[in-house]
Amino acid sequence: MATLSVENLTYVYGEKSPFQKTAIEDVTFSAKSGEIIGVIGHTGSGKSTLVQHFNGLLKANSGKVLLDGADIWENPKEIRKIRFKIGMVFQYPEYQLFEETVYKDIAFGPTNMGLSAEDINKRVLDTAQMLGITAEMLEKSPFDLSGGEKRRVAIAGVMAMQPEIIVFDEPTAGLDPAGRDIVLEKIKEYRDRTGALVFIVSHSMEDMARVADKLLVMNSGHLSMFDTVKKVFSNPQKLKKIGLNVPQVTKVFSALKEKGIPVDENVFTVNDAVSYLLSFLKGGKNND
């Protein structure tokens, strides 16, 4: 079990220069193992800056990040150990691949952790299997793979470290629909297997409706909402005001309701919509 708490976090870019900009201001929240938290917000709202504080890649000007109640900066020399507990998959992570073979690249993180050769081998093979990376692919150069495959290899490189908390920054950006599905499914699978706390920074309300349990909404550096997906999406006015929206299918249902058709507005994914509408066909009444 791991708990991540953020207390009054404030970060200013380029302090005391003509380009000074407050990226996040006074952000406070707390999350615990087993949750998938979607971090959403307009471009430049401070999402990426916020998550880079979790494993100490950025150091806040004021405020704290607590892992299980202890400040991650308590002992600055031990920050690497924190990074083994809190993994981070950056935007377009395939651009960080560098080894000769996929196997070696996935092993980079576990090797840095100082694990035994046996442990490293087991972790690499387990993670590869979970992410559908075949034995044949493991021996290839990562630069010979397709875009979606590269992305999975890069994600495997972080998952092989088996962090208790894992952050994904736009994990599905630039992937085709099939690639998106696989990545989201694998993230969920990782959570189910390890009980980790997962953060996903995303622009896609549809993706978030599918995988997230809670949503953390950022607006120009401030924490605007932190609640269950249902509660956040039931407030479309507030979301629109900060340049966000509810999923497409939810819009369809609210439009239906406005036209006087008595349907439930709290439908966030296409799958939910299908089963909701099918229930009308079967029983003639809705299941609420």
Binding site: P18, Q52, N55, L57, R80, R83, F84, G87, M88, F90, P93, Y95, Q96, L97, F98, F108, G109, N112, M113, F143, G157, V158, M161
Partner: protein, 269 residues
Amino acid sequence: MIKDITFGQYFPAKSIIHRLDPRIKLVLSLMFIIFIFVAQNAVSLAFIGTLTLLFVLISRVPVSLFLKNIKAILFVIILTSVLNALYVTTGNVLLEFWIIKITADGVKRALFMSARIIILIISSSLLTYTTTPTELTDAIERLLKPLRFIGLGEAVHVMAMMITIALRFIPTLIEETDKIMSAQKARGADLESGTLFERIKALIPILVPLLISSVRRAYDLAEAMECRCYNGGSGRQRMKQLKLAGRDYLSLAVLVVCMSAIIAFNIIF
């Protein structure tokens, strides 16, 4: 962090110096630097120092930025002062100790040299603070245009284009390096400790992705340029036409007057 490296230190502000034609600014700066060395006595050097200070104030660039540049070469200033003070052994002896002999002339010489270096740094930073790197390359390209008469027209254009592209991509590459470093640090890469050999080895996870993305970027850029029918310098026109305005002629005139004053001071005093 790596982001702290400033390159092309342009400082945006609204001043007549910012608005001057970059060609004029470049020529004026070069002439100004030559005249720092033409100034032979205290009066003319004081005059040129006062002028520099005046230009700094007009430019509206914070004085602290200039001080930062002087601080960066403080060691050179101190070293030249010490060497000058030691080597000049004429005049009244102020201090004599073992083989070291400090004289009034030596101290004078040291102060004079330090003042020269400081003025040199301030005036050249004034150019880079008030001119964007693109403007500067533009100016260089235009000033070297006469080289076309000896068949180097295309070469000048290619050089200018290369400098422009290089300058354009420095911030991008810094950002990219920063990102890759963060990503590898998140995977537990240790960049800060270990023996020299270990540290060099630790750079591989940074350099390989950086090299690959640079090559990819170069291809993308080349394709984008070809798509827009770029085929070298001949017959190209500019979006930003450099045109001399009244203020440019005025500043030229001011400089000529100042330069004559320096020569006069050199002779009189």
